[in-house]
């Protein structure tokens, strides 16, 4: 007996954007401005870093050394730039237990939300019909308040890099596919997110997100370039410092 099976999927996709031209890379929440940041502490969350290779088949394979190297370079570069920030930066405290889990879960949620913004808001063609004219209104939810209580900071700066470098096989496959079949195959992927969250409400007030970031995060020079790009237009930088290399 063959049974027909029907699936009704209930999808919830939140808060999509006003119409804009194709693929933006950054946005600021309505009502937020540099004014609001004045005198506030910013919690700098330990960045999420993942660096690896893309196999011939296009699957991600982590590389512990590259990841460690990139994390070290990223932290070094962020601390080198401390003077460029107009606000006092607070480092993420060392925690255990529930508070530690609260931090890691919020970072994971930030990554998920930033990915959704990039996919469903920054790419104009992807906007969902029910949310077409929504402004940039995204949130991590009111539980973020715990991060404020623990750190004493009003805002949190989340930074994520996720880089996959095409393996030799992948690059060869790219050339092969283009040569033999004229098919474009992507080799590598270079995602970067930087986002500022109002920890009192959990609202995302500023975001920079791009899937094609520049700068080889495995080198010092490359990381300088990457951080410049991540912090481009960040409202908490002293004027004129925004794109400084």
């Amino acid at each position: 007996m063959i049974n027909l099976l029907k699936v009704l999927s209930v999808a919830f996709l939140l808060n999509l954007a006003q119409p804009v031209l194709a693929q933006e890379r950054g946005a600021v929440r309505a009502g937020f401005s540099e004014e609001k940041l004045r005198g506030q502490k910013i919690l700098l969350l330990r960045p999420s870093v993942w660096v690896g290779e893309q196999s011939t088949a296009g699957l991600p394979e982590p590389n512990a050394d590259w990841t460690a190297q990139a994390r070290e370079l990223l932290i070094k570069e962020l601390s080198r730039r401390q003077a460029e920030f107009s606000n006092e930066l607070v480092n993420e405290p060392d925690l255990v237990g529930d508070d530690a889990r609260a931090f890691s879960e919020h970072k994971a949620l930030f990554n998920s939300v930033a990915g959704s913004v990039m996919t469903y808001q920054f790419f104009a063609g992807n906007r969902l019909p029910t949310r077409k004219n929504k402004p940039f209104e995204w949130t991590l939810g009111a539980n973020a308040k715990r991060l404020a209580e623990v750190s004493g900071a009003r805002y949190g700066l989340f930074v994520t890099i996720n880089d996959q470098y095409g393996s030799f096989g992948r690059k060869l496959f790219q050339v092969f596919a283009a040569g033999m079949f004229g098919v474009g195959v992507k080799s590598g992927q270079h995602i970067g997110y930087a986002g500022l969250v109002d920890l009192e409400t959990g609202d995302l007030v500023w975001l920079n997100a791009d899937a094609e970031m520049g700068g080889d995060v495995r080198t010092g020079d490359g990381m300088q370039k990457r951080v410049s790009q991540l912090l481009e237009d960040f409202p908490g930088l002293k004027s004129g410092q925004a794109a400084a290399k």
Partner: protein, 345 residues
């Protein structure tokens, strides 16, 4: 210091199986394998992942998959895998590799992999037979195998590595047969294989195991059975509820053959059959459940299984009796309301 961040992420991840007793036990096996002076460098985390894998990062973070534990039959077998990963750590391959690449010898490294564009059949089954999340090359894997074996040889354990690779090959064959995939020829590695083939490993480990004195010592099978039976549902859940029936059945059967069948292991096999649910499977599953409840260790869910399989095959009366027994044994189970509703109809 920076690698500790990765570890922090691990420590707080919901994918980690938090079980202090298990962690202590695994650390003990590692210490016996590589020596108490060395093993302090490793911090072990058990990851809920049904695939066969373990890994050790340059900072000492050691990852052991539940799927690895499901497929081991003794402390001696486990020690060869932990020894292998610890071997990578001591050889610092991954750091060497990084330095080599950074010296501008990238092209040399790449030339060694010429022919890399050929398809890699290893992805055909979910259970790619590899060790380690981080990529090393074939020679480094072999070095780690030999160093791991050397640790075991100077430990109280006998060397029992070849059987592990033999079973992995048999499991893979079982999966491929069921899915009508071409079986792998395992004699020589393909150009893109980063690990020695199972057959090569089987061959050189068999040779090492035949050396004089290599089989001396207690393999710790009884202890291993006890410590892993305690958490059997945790280490088998992904296999039983996955979609590789033949592979999972092979793993369960081989454990039963080696360590003996208790109520919980037989229940696990019954679940696998019931969940596939071919008409014949329901009858087989019921037989397994009914046998399981005569053995020590059967969980209340065995009565649930008897009830459901009986009702499915038309024996409603006995099915209801078994389901009532299940509710009596586990009144607060997460599906008691659904079972009650079934009983009312």
């Amino acid at each position: 210091m920076e690698m500790d961040e990765a570890e922090r992420g691990f420590r707080d991840s919901p994918q980690i199986l938090h079980d202090e007793r298990l962690k202590t036990y695994l650390s003990g096996v590692l210490c016996k394998t590589v020596g108490f002076d060395r093993c302090g460098a490793a911090r072990i985390y058990v990851v809920k992942d049904h695939r066969f894998n373990a890994s050790m990062a340059p900072n000492g973070l050691m990852i052991v998959n539940t799927g690895l534990l499901a497929r081991m039959h003794s402390e001696a077998e486990l020690s060869t895998v932990l020894g292998h990963e610890f071997g990578h750590f001591e050889l610092r391959h991954s750091l060497n590799r990084f330095r080599a690449l950074r010296k501008g010898t990238d092209w040399l490294a790449w030339l060694g992999m010429a022919g890399a564009a050929t398809g890699n059949d290893m992805t055909a089954t979910q259970n790619a037979i590899i060790l380690g999340f981080f990529s090393y090359n074939r020679e480094q894997e072999k070095d780690a195998d030999f160093l791991g074996a050397a640790y075991v040889r100077s430990s109280p354990y006998p060397l029992r590595a070849s059987a592990v690779w033999k079973r992995l090959a048999e499991e893979d064959d079982a999966t491929r047969e069921e899915r009508k995939l071409r079986k792998l020829k395992r004699a020589t590695p393909g150009a893109t294989d980063t690990h020695p083939t199972g057959a090569q490993r089987f061959a050189y480990f068999s040779q090492l195991e035949a050396e004089i004195g290599a089989q001396n010592g207690d393999d710790g099978q009884e202890q291993f059975r006890e410590e892993t039976s305690r958490i059997l549902p945790d280490i088998f859940a992904g296999l039983v509820k996955g979609n590789d029936f033949a592979g999972a059945d092979y793993v369960i059967r081989s454990r039963g053959d080696a360590l003996g069948w208790d109520g919980l292991l037989l229940h696990t096999r019954a679940e696998l059959y019931r969940l596939r649910g071919n008409p014949r499977d329901l009858i087989t599953a019921r037989q397994f459940y009914e046998k399981a409840i005569t053995l020590p260790g059967a969980p209340p869910e065995s009565w649930r299984g008897i009830g459901l399989t009986a009702m499915r095959t038309g024996d409603t009366e006995n099915g209801k009796v078994a389901l009532k027994e299940y509710l009596a044994k586990a009144p607060t189970s997460n599906d008691s309301a659904a079972i009650k509703m079934l009983l009312e109809n």
